[in-house]
Symmetry: C2
Subunit: 161 residues, 2 copies
């Protein structure tokens, strides 16, 4: 890859890094409490294994995106491409799982007898929604980065087939 | 890609196709009912938007995997690589979301007041678990297929950088 191809990748990586950093921050600071039938009810991200997984993946992606900015493009583009694929997979995974659980928090599931909780703890739900929006931005940016890197690499393919 | 490189891809695609077909079948046939406090309680996959999403993605992947078997490798490997990437992303997404919701079905979430349902509807839960195992096989196979295709393509790259 040449320099002109490398700059868009740097820009995309910085945007993704900011998005996952914001997602982590907004999710970690999500807490709210409500009194239901005289009992105080605490809502925190770390009460849910799925939201914890979302935070862990967001932190790892932030650190990886920062580290990848300093990798020389000429040498290590092959392992970087594979790592980008792995990071994108985990971003998609943690985002999708968090959306699945977030949807239950918002709508509940009457068949399972699970009541929605967002009416009681709106501040918590707003934070989770904000973190999910930032997470979605990170997913889209990493997907574009992957397609762009692939396109650059595939343009170097000499047809032997 | 030459013929020797194409055969493993065909084999992986057939395995993934069978896995997503089994996942669809096992998930669609998941239903159980229980009487709780005199009320009959029906558990079906289509009571959950997340499990419906899992089934839709499994069906699309089955059809795509079948169709991709008949695509001539010499001509359309570029769009096929991009489609493989998109299909893998949706497989990861639907599998992860279903695991997130399945974990709630099994363990519940005491903080949110959501009780586990697997004790009441074990047949339903066994089917969902079976479908998730098949879904996981499909995710892994598609990921290997993607890495293998990429590796084949990258070996054709002539270093101009």
């Amino acid at each position: 890859m040449n320099k002109a191809q490398w700059i868009p990748i740097l820009v995309l990586r910085v945007i993704a890094m900011v998005a996952t950093f914001v997602a982590t921050l907004v999710m970690v600071t999500s807490h709210d409490s409500a009194k239901v039938l005289g009992m105080t009810f605490q809502a925190k991200y770390n009460n849910s294994p799925t939201l914890k997984y979302f935070v862990i993946v967001s932190i790892i992606t932030t650190v990886y995106s920062l580290a990848a900015l300093f990798i020389p493009p000429k040498k290590l583009w092959r392992p970087v491409l594979v790592f980008d694929l792995i990071v994108t997979s985990f971003l998609i995974s943690s985002f999708s799982a968090a959306v699945g659980v977030g949807q239950l928090g918002k709508e509940g599931n009457s068949h399972a007898g699970w009541l929605p909780i967002c009416g009681q703890v709106p501040k918590f739900c707003n934070h989770v929604s904000g973190a999910l929006i930032a997470g979605f931005v990170a997913v889209i940016i990493y997907f574009i980065l992957l397609l762009y890197s692939l396109n650059n690499v595939l343009n170097l393919v000499v047809f032997k087939v």
